[in-house]
């Protein structure tokens, strides 16, 4: 996410003026500043109205006892909702399931995405066809693909179930989680590969050739030239995939609806609102998920160092 160079270009435009017109200038600068605020205002208002305000409202709701079925019992109860969620088996099961799905799907997607990116980068023939085919999982609607996987693993209906001796993996916890991870990997590998491919194209071909002449093996060239140069691209891809995977909802909702302890934290939050109609507990879950995502993001951005998106604003 490099949205940095324009800053320099903008300041250059204002400093270029001749000193003789200083008064007019500062008025011009003021007008520019006013126009800038006017242009960003609508976007900022919508983003704040839909995210910042509701999350603050959620913090407030999470401190109340508030069940839509029993609105007359609504009252302030402090941190009791958090106590209820954090001492509940459901929260910890959902969190562990979410972490397992995230770790496995992101790790495998990274490896497969790297292989796919190498293939897209280097394949000799049918490059266009392969690129096109690889985009199909990206383009498909997640829910539609999830129905496909669900039926494929349904005994009596699905070809995959039939191929595995009429097994019913969606009815057991571990196997269902494996199917969910498989569906995630299939859907998101192209996206990972595209981000890595863009990083890969920044690795100079000459450097590869020189190393080859010096006798470096393919593996040495990959670990010692390609990987270090691709580090920023890999970290960005990992950040976005990890946070996206942590929010997993669609695939699980269709494949198991969270049955047999396969629900993610998002499924838990959804169920709590629409089955239990408990706004207080639901908001506490919302806030806890928000904190988890913030922690993951902070860890990643620490890992980025100076390569973090947005940190180099104004430096160039």
């Amino acid at each position: 996410m490099t949205v940095n160079a324009p800053v320099a270009a903008g300041s250059e435009a204002t400093s270029e003026q001749t000193p003789g017109h200083r008064k007019q200038l500062s008025e011009g600068a003021k007008a520019e500043r006013r126009l800038g605020f006017m242009l960003i205002a609508p976007a900022v208002i919508v983003m704040v109205a839909v995210t910042a305000y509701p999350i603050i409202y959620a913090i407030w709701l999470s401190l109340e006892k508030y069940n839509l079925e029993l609105p007359q019992e609504k009252k302030f109860i402090g941190l009791a909702n958090y106590g209820a969620v954090l001492s509940s088996q459901y929260w910890w099961t959902a969190l562990v399931v979410t972490v397992i799905i995230t770790v496995f799907s992101v790790a495998i997607t990274l490896v497969l995405g790297m292989l796919l990116a190498q293939l897209l980068h280097r394949t000799i023939f049918f490059r266009g066809v392969v690129r096109t085919a690889a985009l199909i999982p990206y383009g498909i609607v997640t829910v539609a693909a999830a129905y496909g996987w669900q039926y494929a693993w349904t005994p009596g209906t699905g070809y995959l179930s039939a191929a595995f001796n009429n097994s019913a993996p969606l009815t057991s916890q571990v196997q269902a989680i494996a199917v969910i991870i498989l569906a995630e990997i299939w859907k998101t590998t192209p996206f990972m590969a595209l981000l890595l491919l863009a990083g890969l194209s920044l690795v100079p071909e000459d450097l590869q050739k020189a190393a080859k002449v010096d006798g470096a093996t393919t593996w040495q060239r990959f670990t010692q030239i390609t990987l270090p140069l691709m580090k920023p691209a890999i970290l960005v891809a990992l950040l976005f995939r990890t946070l996206d995977s942590f929010r997993i909802f669609d695939n699980i909702y269709i494949l198991t609806a969270g049955a047999n302890n396969t629900g993610s934290v998002s499924i838990l939050g959804y169920d709590n609102l629409f089955n239990a109609l408990n706004l207080g507990i639901g908001s506490a879950i919302s806030v806890l998920i928000f904190i988890c995502v913030a922690i993951i993001a902070i860890i990643f951005i620490r890992g980025f160092g100076t390569a973090a998106p947005g940190t180099d604003i104004g430096k160039r």
Partner: protein, 279 residues
Amino acid sequence: MAAVTTTPRQKAGWGIANFVVIALALIPVLWLVSLSFKTPTAVLDPSFVPSQWTWGNYSGILQSSQFIRPLINSIGIGLISTVIAVTLASMAAYAVARLAFPGKSVLIGMALLIAIFPQISLITPLFSIERALGLFNTWPGLIIPYVAFGLPLGIYILSAFFREIPWELEKAAKMDGATPFQAFTKVIAPLAAPGMVTTAILVFLACWNDFLFAISFTSTISARTAPAAMQYFSGGSVFTIPTGPIAAAAVVITIPIIIFVLFFQRRIVAGLTSGAVKG
């Protein structure tokens, strides 16, 4: 590149790798297509190719308001959200790219935060807010969150595109007496059109794909979108699982998008990677 030293073995290796990728990408899609053509009896036969073919699933869903209305909602809500998001994002990205004003990095930081925001955290509070404001189960009730989540993507991609535009033209227009606003609409906007198309495609895809907001903020087909409507399909009788109709609906909402993605693949790849790498 590597073509100089290609041996037949290497050729075969690349060929096999290509084949595997194409097969893995296509098989799950072909499976959905196959299911959508199976008769209710053939659905109970796990073979990959239908033993009995029928158009019945398609004619069924295309005559049912339970699918047609959500399909119209999906298209309408997606298009309106896209137009609003691209317009607002263009204005903001222009300001970020061209104007000197304080708080720019706050805007970028805010956009990044929203790009990684857990949508589920908004479900409970937004549900409550939308019910209080009468937005629950309406088009605006979905359009507003879609615009909010389309904006960060739009601001990133468009800022990246706006950097590439020859800004001397803008200066020339200003020297000829154009106001900054005229310089934006008359000179820069037409040059920025390719970036805006890319942004529009990605925002529309995100809206079309959304499931969580769609099932949370709607309760009837008056605003429910197609991905959310599929789970409410019914089979021929209460005892039949509507596998065929759901598969047909999945194909109907998927195939146009796949064709669309393939048609615009260069733009999509450029858009997805423009902001994200180079870091």
